[in-house]
Amino acid sequence: MLKKFSEAVAANDYYKAWLKDAWPYITAAVLLSLFQIVTMAVTGSPWGVAATLANWGAWLFQGVGGSVDKWYYFSSDAAQAVLARGPLQDPGTLRNAGIIGGALVSTLIASGFKIKKIKSWRQVAAAVLGGLLMGYGARIGFGCNIGALFSGISSLSLSGWVYGVFMFFGAVVGSKLLVKYFM
């Protein structure tokens, strides 16, 4: 009975088009634009991702008894207010949690969930090093490719375009390194 049902779902054209196969880039682009307008309207600030990760780090550090009051990055009143309100009152936290949870649910619905094996230590080193560099870069660049690029350009800010140009050069260097060390 359950087997028959899951086979019927798997063969359904709407399931395939909406839940199983990847959406066209244009669909994703239109949805991202709509949701960032909603974000701007509801929370009063443009969509960002990486700044929230820094706050998560601060909350974790406070959770184990640390204090970030004296850190330059968190020293402004606005940053202190966000930290004082906590994760559940922070739109960025709810949004990022939604992205992670939504990604999990959508791979499960598409029956595409798999725990992948680690192929080499080189992969681990590149992931850790890449993560650190991206996190550090996103903080000194006042945003990641969402907060600084996407939201920057859609707010008609020149900084978004500058970010885009240098991200392009970074991607060129990154691809060269990738081909050199991972092929």
Partner: protein, 75 residues
């Protein structure tokens, strides 16, 4: 008519695509390259590239989150 397997399991984009492109260059027309992938974005860019390059492409879902992209070199 050769049939070659390319193991790209555990590799993230764009590694499977670049590896497949390199491997396909070594093959003759009519040969078959089977690329094993488990990164869903390779499911999009690998078949897209191969079809655009004029090859015949078929995708098989081997398991949850695991696919084989079968490419027949056409030119």
């Amino acid at each position: 008519m050769k049939e070659e397997m390319l193991d790209c399991l555990g590799e993230a984009c764009p590694v499977p695509l670049v590896k497949a492109q390199k491997k396909l260059e070594e093959l003759e027309i009519g040969d078959i390259l089977i690329v094993q992938i488990d990164h869903s974005c390779a499911m999009k860019n690998l078949p897209e590239w191969a079809r655009e390059a004029g090859h015949n492409v078929e995708i098989e879902e081997v398991d949850d989150g695991e696919w084989e992209v079968v490419i027949e070199k056409a030119k």
